[in-house]
Symmetry: C2
Subunit: 190 residues, 2 copies
């Protein structure tokens, strides 16, 4: 069971269209054995994603969210992107295979962390308050997945993506009438 999940993670992170046959072969089991544990490819992808999310969750807990909320958000985005890179095309496989509702459920815990940070930034006047906080959380989720898809499609370079997500979010979160911060300064590379 763990061996199948390991093999599926490796295969799907390399090729989001990896088939059940590819995965069974990589795990060194037959199709029948694999289907004994996971009734369909979608169920297997869901299990792989659930495990990847749990590991990502553990690493994101270590991010320092104190200090300037904008700088903290950039740190959180950088760490999240490292996780996304580690799982490679897995996000794309998940988006192609999993129903939207299941994808959303898999993101509940990261959403709560982001929501807290955004509310802190709103209270400090750093982030906009003219849009619902739930909408701002949704935009980060959405922009991050769009970046993963753009990298997979070759429209965005992998090493540009974290900066693109952070730059996009800093603009998006700036209150109307305020100046958009420079992401490169906040990341310490400007």
């Amino acid at each position: 069971m763990e061996a199948i999940l390991d093999a599926a993670t490796t295969c799907l992170a390399r090729d989001p269209d990896a088939s059940i046959n590819d995965i069974a072969k990589a795990a060194g089991v037959g199709r029948v054995t694999l289907y004994g544990h996971f009734e369909s490819r979608a169920v297997l992808v869901a299990a792989v994603v659930a495990r990847a999310m749990a590991e990502a969750e553990a690493s994101l807990r270590g991010v320092d969210l104190t200090g300037d909320p904008a700088a903290a958000l950039v740190r959180l985005i950088d760490a999240s992107w490292q996780t996304t890179l580690r799982y490679g095309a897995l996000v794309v496989a998940a988006e192609k295979s999993m129903p939207v509702a299941d994808m959303a459920a898999a993101h509940d815990e990261p959403r709560e962390r982001v929501r807290g940070l955004l509310e802190h930034g709103r209270a400090e006047g750093r982030f906009r308050t003219d849009l619902p906080v739930s909408w701002l959380v949704t935009t980060l989720h959405t922009v991050t997945h769009a970046a993963a898809t753009s990298v997979y499609d070759g429209e965005l370079a992998p090493d540009e993506a974290a900066r693109a997500i952070a730059a996009t979010m800093l603009g998006l979160l700036t209150p109307p009438g305020e100046v958009v911060p420079d992401v490169d300064i906040l990341r310490g590379v400007g």
Copy 2:
């Protein structure tokens, strides 16, 4: 065939989970007849979306894209949202049923219109140039679909959505170091 598409549009715009049975009943045909025209629910949804996109495309061609690019973008977003409202939950049905690649292909023509407007705004210094224009186009597509899903999920009111999309995009597009414009002033309601 047209009657089936009309019925499917009505059913799916009301309930993105409308079944083949619901649609056949609304069209006044049997399942066998329906499957004679459309081999699966996914194929039918794709045909409904293709027709809706063609109609939307026709109405978006009328939007005035001259003058201040930021104000033009707000007009384009308002018009696009009216189209989205008309087709209601159809976007949600499409997202649940259509592969990501097909959804992207269905948006090629609107993407080109948006790309032209964003490039115009970049040339005038109104929109940021530190991110690829293809990425900025992707964010509008992504943010619009996220808004449609949020409205369907009850997290965003339908009459707030156009403003939320426009406000989000104006912040996101503002060059670092520049002031985020007030969407309500650009929409003439501030």
